[in-house]
Subunit: 353 residues, 2 copies
């Protein structure tokens, strides 16, 4: 059987859950490799992927017999069939973080399970520790992102708009083997950089601007995530100090990262630095990176878990002064036994173009 589904079955067994209804598309891709719309049922006897006529052809072409996944057309089932899937199961798991309340009510009505139980991101937790092929894909996505940054340093000129630069980032990814963007690139210049989630505008790059660039691509479905903040023509003393502050905080955090380190402990290092220097914390320190650009673990002070080997994280401290400027530095890193490896290798020296 497909080893990831095998793992899931073992894990469910320990929790006394006898079946599961999987609807999250990233989890379905992770478990089966499939990108079609549908529902994956883990029943006592079988793994069944229920899809519709639009996808049957593709799905049958991509599954292997060793996967032990039965594919079927949603139109082939009666109401009685649905009731039979989990008839002898006491507890059936569902994904409370991806089903809407209306969908939850629908599966409750359809499968008539004895007891639908929340599975608390069981698959997402497995996904947070990456396997070798996943790491290779993320490394490749990071490499394309680094190449893009190098290219941007020669491409960006005064008079260009944020939108033009964001568009060129997407074009670069497309030309250089990425399958997709990981998210819409952020290019925020001058005062626009003070909005952590700025959307590129028609503002033109001017002399003395800060330019904050947050970008990532996908390679074989896996994301990269990197931010660099650069300066046009000059950098003021204030901005230089602010930049060095953010870089110093990031470096302190990066030095702490290794297997077994407590997440809350790492975040408190950032919080202490910000509080001591009267900077305001506007967003979390970081997040996991994989099939989704934002996935487990989330790096906040309420997360009491420890890091594990082969987790991939984005570490992104930033400071934002409303209507004035913003500075963020972000890298994608992988956790090792005794340290971390930084996968995005673009320079973090102060860059003036």
């Amino acid at each position: 059987m497909n080893p990831r589904i095998k793992w899931l079955r073992d894990k469910l067994k320990v929790q006394n859950i006898e079946g599961m209804i999987i609807t999250n598309k990233h989890n379905i891709k992770y478990l089966t490799g499939l990108e079609a719309e549908g529902t994956l049922l883990i029943t006592k006897k079988e793994n069944i992927f229920i899809t519709d006529s639009r996808y049957i052809e593709e799905v049958n072409n991509s599954l292997m017999i060793d996967d032990e996944i039965t594919v079927s057309d949603v139109r082939g089932y009666t109401r009685v069939d649905y009731e039979n899937f989990f008839m002898f199961c006491e507890n059936v798991g569902f994904e409370e973080y991806s089903l809407t309340y209306a969908e939850y009510r629908r599966i409750q009505e359809l499968y008539k399970c004895n007891n639908l139980v929340e599975t608390e991101k069981i698959i997402e937790k497995l996904r947070s520790v990456k396997e070798d092929d996943e790491i290779e894909n993320i490394k490749q996505a990071c490499k394309i992102t680094d190449d893009c940054f190098k290219y941007l340093l020669t491409y960006i000129k005064k008079g260009m708009t944020e939108k033009e630069i964001a568009h060129e980032i997407k074009e670069f990814f497309n030309r250089n083997g990425a399958n997709d963007i990981a998210f819409e690139p952020i290019v925020a210049s001058g005062p626009n950089s003070s909005k952590p989630h700025a959307v590129p505008t028609d503002r033109k790059i001017e002399s003395n601007d800060v330019i904050l660039i947050d970008m990532g691509c996908k390679y074989n479905g896996y994301a990269s995530d990197m931010t660099r903040t650069i300066f046009v023509d000059s950098i003021s003393e204030t901005l230089k100090k602010e930049y060095e502050f953010v870089l110093d905080v990031q470096n302190q955090v990066l030095k702490l990262l290794k297997e077994g380190r407590n997440i809350r402990e790492i975040v408190l290092v950032l919080e202490n630095n910000y509080n001591m220097s009267r900077h305001v914390i506007m967003h979390a320190l970081g997040h996991g990176v994989g099939l989704e650009c934002h996935e487990l673990p989330f790096l906040s002070s309420t997360n009491m878990n420890n890091l594990k080997e082969n987790m991939v994280l984005a570490i992104e401290p930033g400071i934002y002064v409303a209507s004035k400027y913003g500075i963020r530095i972000e890298d994608t890193v992988i956790i090792n036994k005794l340290s971390c490896n930084i996968l995005t290798e673009s320079s973090k020296e102060i860059i003036i173009i």
Copy 2:
């Protein structure tokens, strides 16, 4: 007060709902014009948009005093504040189609409402009938889409890949004033056209190919949706007959569309045609188009509602023969009192390039 929120308040009153928690981003944009992440609370006394520090600046810049919307930072509230929002309300509405089950449990826990009630797409139903400015935006999106199709007829050449063509569609939209794509364009050639939701591949356009192109852009946030199927160098007698069948079904449907027409009745016309000619129905006849590319009303035989004036619909009959070919013809149309207007004006004659 903002007239759409005023309408919503009146509508809720009739249903004996005394407050509402709005989380769907399209509904928030529709009601307030805002595109920031956050929650809109309709309480007895106030309209409150709770967002976070990343968005406060933008939101305050875009709201008008007449909107009567209070903006606040999520970090400004205690647990007691949340319990006070709906303290004297018997029934508080929520959006069961956009909240996840986990989020539902969270708001249940947070607001401690007496009774959380499903609002059955109350805002989505209002959105299905478009106002003048919305229609203008959709018309503009359709015009850009028509221009794109005209351009593609000169652009597409044998040897190009589906991916290249899909990319050029996005480039065209970008160059010609669209703010975004409505969805990833489908360009499916030869046997790939038999998959209704094909993703563009590296397959090169060949002589005698069918090419199915499904595309749409967004203008001021509003979508267009159009499909054309064209032929390379020649068309076989079989394909000619199939094309004429699809076009004939679409024409029959378009002639029926007007205010007051029953949706089920329209869909049955399609079903009769398909059954009589032994064609297989692979997807619904169509859907509403607006802020979302797929929105209410959905045109299926289980929909017993009648059409209303100023609904905007995509009408998209198609036929698919596995591994051989697919043909789909789709237009965006607006419902009038006595007929419909077709907003996508590209030719539906058989086109051989």
